[in-house]
Structures are given as structure tokens and as C-alpha cells.
């Protein structure tokens, strides 16, 4: 015995209604014979059997809606006895016109309950008082854009004032403010309707108060903590070292030219150009820009270059120059001066201390020609920069005197290998040969 089921007559049909049976229990049917008329939402269609045999019990009544696949009747092989209780048989007479039966009268829509007077009042916040509207107008605040913090959502005077002083800031200006540590609330925008733009932030960054702020209790890395960190690094990190000499002639002469028409405050030092090159190279080689955590390399979410800064009294700190790969050279220079200034005065932000994705230690000013630094765990790379020195150097086959600098890179051999380090230094060297693009 097998089932005759509700067929699917279209991709969008998931149920159907038996309008009328065209067979009755005991009928012999051939494969392809029409069994019943089924109404889907669009039309009434005859459905056929895919097996020959004898109709057993009709399991579904005319008018009953069932899902696709639901057994509608049982089919017996020839000779099997139908079960005792046959379902009532549909109209025997074949309908003359196969028109679609009129849809059942849809239930009259129930009118929504009329909300009582009080409920209506509670829904909308009370209208702002005339004096408040006047105050808002004075400050050029559009009350419709203000959400009230008073009872029932009433707009208060404080809400209006807050809305008046909500600064409109361009996205780039907002990011720059974060990097340069500028408090936006204190910045007056020069853009249309007071919008704060990048130049406003830069101006604010320059007009920093003359008096050095009193050093607050920022986390200072004293000798003990440094010792623990360094020994952990040496213990856990299998260091490899690579180094190269970079001809700084192009950078130095380019800097000299651009600095000539820059105010002293905006002059750019070679160290900044080196940092910029390291940042751009790190962006191109993400495998050096991240952390080794629990045996796996985790790439940094962006390039934050840790700058090793000797703070007075022998302490060392390496805060991050955040998003260094996005900072053009002049902006990076300002960010660097600001970072070093705040590092020396202990006003570093938490993010700057926690987030460097690789570190640069520049001992050039300390007169050392080459330095192979110790990687700051959990980072996987550290770049060492030596002193800028004039040296004899072959240029297109001829001997000349060139400003040179020794670059080194210490790498965590678990994360990368010397080959990567070499490519990294080569990339930095190449970037430094096109200073205008830094």
C-alpha cells in the first residue's frame, strides 16, 4: 500500500485545498489519471496519480487545506482490500465549467480599538514652552532634532544648550584630534555653520599651552619592569637579526629643501621620515605587524609604531604612534613631537602604551651606528636605527660621500624568518628613496 500525496505545483506553493475528489475508494486508476481538483491561491488544477492501482481510503475532505506532501489517499496494489471506513465521497457529477470556485467570504476586518484620551496624551512628549522655543531659536537649535531628557520626554533648557554646543566635526578632523590628543570641545570650527575641520584641529594642536603640564602618575616603566619584560623576550622569542645600510642622500636633500620654506615648528627631522617608511613598509608586510599569542600570529588591526623614547632618569617607554601608515609625513612629525613631549611629561594615553604593533628604537642621536634591539613581547618585530653618518659610498660606479644610516630588524622566528626581514628592510630602503611619496 502507498500514499497519494499533495503535489507541489510551483516553487511558491506550499499548501493546497481539495476542491473535489474525482475518484472513489475501489476505483482502478492508471498512471497519469486525474485524482482530484486542488485549489492553490492562483487556480484550480487537476492532480494526477504517478502509480497505477486501486484507490484505498480518501484521507482528506473536500474544502480541507493541507501542506504539500500530506497523504491525501491510500493506494492499494491490485487485489488489496480497502480499509473499513471510507471518507465521504465528493460530488459525483463532473463540474461542467472548470471555473475557479468563488473564494470563501473573507472575515470582516475588526476595527482597531479607539485609544482612550489619556493614552493619547502619554504617547507624545509635552510641547516645549514658548520661552524654551525662543531660547532654542536664539541658539539656532532645531527642536525637532533634540530628544528631551525631562519627564515624559520633555525637552529641557539643558537639552537645548547641549544641542547648541554639539560640535559638527568632519570624520578626518575627529580622527586627527584623537591622534594629536586635541579635546574637540575646545576647538572652534571654521567650516560652514561652525564645522570643525582638519586645519582647525591642527591649529588647536599648535596653540598648546606654553607651560609644561605637571607630570601626572602615568605608568612609568621603571628598571624592574623593563628587566622582567626583556628577559621574558629573550627567553621566549627566538630572535633573528638582519641589517642593511641605507643611502639617505635623497631623503636628506629633500628634507633640506622642504624644510627651507617651513617654519621651525613644522620642520621635519630624518627620524620622522624613517618612522614613516617603517610604517608604510609594515602596512605592506602585515606578517611583521602584530602579535605572537598562544602559539599563533595575530595581525594588528592597523599599523601603530611603537617609538622607544628614553625618558629622563633612565626609564624607557615605547608608546605607539597610532595609525602611522595613514599619517602623511608632516602630520606624523607633529604627532611624533607631541608623543615624545607627552611621554617625557608622563601624559600618555592608555591606548598609546598598550597598542604598538611593532617598535622602532632610534639610537642615532645617542651616536651609535647600529643597534640590534630586543623585541617587545608580544610583538614580533623591532627596527633598530643607527646614526646618520657621512661615509664613502659607490654611486653609479663612482666613489662619493653619502649620508648613510644602518637599519636593523630583529624578528621573532616563530612568526617570520630572515627572508621576510630582508624584504622588509629592502622595502623601507626603497620607500626612503622616494621621500616626496612618504
Amino acid at each position: 500500500m502507498s500514499d497519494f500525496t499533495m503535489p507541489s505545483l510551483g516553487a511558491d506553493m506550499d499548501s493546497g485545498t481539495i476542491v473535489e475528489w474525482l475518484v472513489k475508494p475501489g476505483d482502478h486508476v492508471q498512471r497519469g489519471a486525474p485524482m482530484a481538483v486542488v485549489d492553490t491561491d492562483k487556480a484550480a488544477v487537476e492532480i494526477e496519480t504517478f502509480q497505477s492501482g486501486v484507490v484505498g481510503d480518501l484521507l482528506v475532505e473536500p474544502g480541507q487545506r493541507v501542506d504539500v506532501g500530506t497523504p491525501l489517499a491510500t493506494m492499494l496494489a491490485a487485489g488489496e482490500a480497502p480499509s473499513a471506513a471510507p471518507v465521504s465521497v465528493g460530488k459525483a457529477k463532473r463540474p461542467r465549467a472548470r471555473r475557479v470556485p468563488p473564494p470563501r467570504e473573507a472575515a470582516a476586518p475588526v476595527p482597531p480599538a479607539v485609544p482612550r484620551e489619556a493614552e493619547v496624551a502619554a504617547a507624545a512628549p509635552p510641547a516645549p514652552s514658548p520661552p524654551l522655543r525662543h531660547h532654542a531659536a536664539e541658539l539656532g537649535v532645531d527642536l525637532a532634532s533634540v530628544t528631551g531628557t525631562g519627564t515624559h520626554g520633555r525637552i529641557t533648557r539643558r537639552d537645548v544648550d547641549a544641542a547648541a554646543h554639539r560640535p559638527r566635526v568632519s570624520p578626518y578632523a575627529r580622527r586627527l584630534a584623537e591622534e594629536l590628543g586635541v579635546d574637540l570641545a575646545a576647538v572652534t570650527g571654521t567650516g560652514t555653520s561652525g564645522t570643525v575641520r582638519a586645519e582647525d584641529v591642527r591649529a588647536a594642536a599648535h596653540a598648546r599651552p606654553e607651560v609644561p603640564p605637571v607630570s601626572t602618575e602615568a605608568p612609568r616603566s621603571d628598571r624592574a619592569t623593563i628587566a622582567a619584560l626583556m628577559s621574558r623576550s629573550k627567553r621566549e622569542i627566538p630572535h633573528y637579526y638582519v641589517a642593511t645600510t641605507v643611502d639617505m642622500h635623497t631623503v636628506v636633500s629633500w628634507l633640506r629643501d622642504t624644510n627651507r620654506d617651513r617654519s621651525v615648528a613644522e620642520r621635519i627631522v630624518p627620524a620622522a621620515a624613517l618612522l614613516r617608511a617603517v610604517a608604510l613598509a609594515a602596512r605592506r608586510m602585515p606578517q611583521l605587524n602584530g602579535f605572537w599569542v598562544d602559539g599563533v600570529f595575530v595581525p594588528g588591526e592597523d599599523v601603530h609604531v611603537g617609538v622607544a623614547i628614553s625618558v629622563r632618569r633612565g626609564a624607557l617607554v615605547a608608546p605607539a604612534l597610532r595609525h602611522a601608515a595613514d599619517l602623511e609625513l608632516p602630520v606624523l612629525m607633529q604627532a611624533l613631537r607631541d608623543l615624545v613631549g607627552r611621554a617625557r611629561s608622563g601624559r600618555l594615553t592608555r591606548a598609546e602604551l598598550a597598542d604598538p604593533t611593532l617598535t622602532v628604537t632610534d639610537l642615532g642621536d645617542q651616536g651609535v651606528e647600529e643597534v640590534f634591539g630586543v623585541i617587545q613581547p608580544p610583538q614580533v618585530a623591532l627596527v633598530g636605527i643607527g646614526r646618520l653618518v657621512e661615509r664613502p659610498w659607490a654611486v653609479d660606479g663612482r666613489l662619493g660621500v653619502r649620508p648613510l644610516v644602518r637599519l636593523s630588524q630583529s624578528g621573532d622566528h616563530r612568526a617570520t624568518d630572515g627572508y621576510t626581514g630582508a624584504r622588509f628592510l629592502a622595502t623601507i630602503d626603497d620607500l626612503l628613496q622616494h621621500p616626496e611619496a612618504l
Binding site: 609644561p212 621651525v264 620642520r267 628614553s310 611624533l336 613631537r337 642621536d365 651616536g367
Partner: protein, 86 residues
């Protein structure tokens, strides 16, 4: 108005003390290299130049940096540069 050596000395000392508050300037030999003895890195030195040029009201180009190596040379430089503007 040409700057006297004393005026120059106090001016230079003021700028240095701003960058290295605990610098021992009195005991500082006049020909000592300021950058090495006071551990001024390139950024410190840039700030020193910026303040000096603002305070003394004189233009200092990158090519002038060598003449600011020692206290002595600073005094000579400032005297010469302010004399020029008499």
C-alpha cells in the same frame, strides 16, 4: 640691538632648562657639546631651536644648526644675527 654674551647666555639657558629642567648649566664648560652632554635628541634640539628663534626674534635655518653646538657658539651666533638686524 646686538645681544651681549650675557643676555645670550641667559636666553639659551632658559630654553635648555625648559627642555632639560634639571640640567646643570652653571658647571657646563662653554665649549661643551650641548647635544651630547645634555642628551638632547633631534626632537629636543628642534624644540630648542624653535624656542630660541622665537625668544630671540631671529631666523634660524637648518644650515645654522652647527653654529649652535656649544654655549660659546650660541653666544657668537646670536650676537652676529642680532647685530645684522641693527
Amino acid at each position: 640691538m646686538t645681544m651681549t654674551p650675557d643676555q645670550a647666555r641667559s636666553l639659551v639657558s632658559k630654553q635648555i632648562r625648559f627642555i632639560v629642567p634639571d640640567a646643570d648649566l652653571d658647571g657646563l664648560p662653554p665649549d661643551a657639546d650641548l647635544r651630547r652632554t645634555l642628551e638632547l635628541d633631534s626632537l629636543d634640539f628642534l624644540e630648542f631651536v624653535e624656542r630660541l628663534s622665537k625668544d630671540a626674534g631671529v631666523r634660524i635655518d637648518e644650515d645654522d644648526y652647527p653654529s649652535l653646538a656649544t654655549m660659546e657658539s650660541c653666544q657668537a651666533f646670536l650676537a652676529a644675527r642680532t647685530a645684522a638686524s641693527d
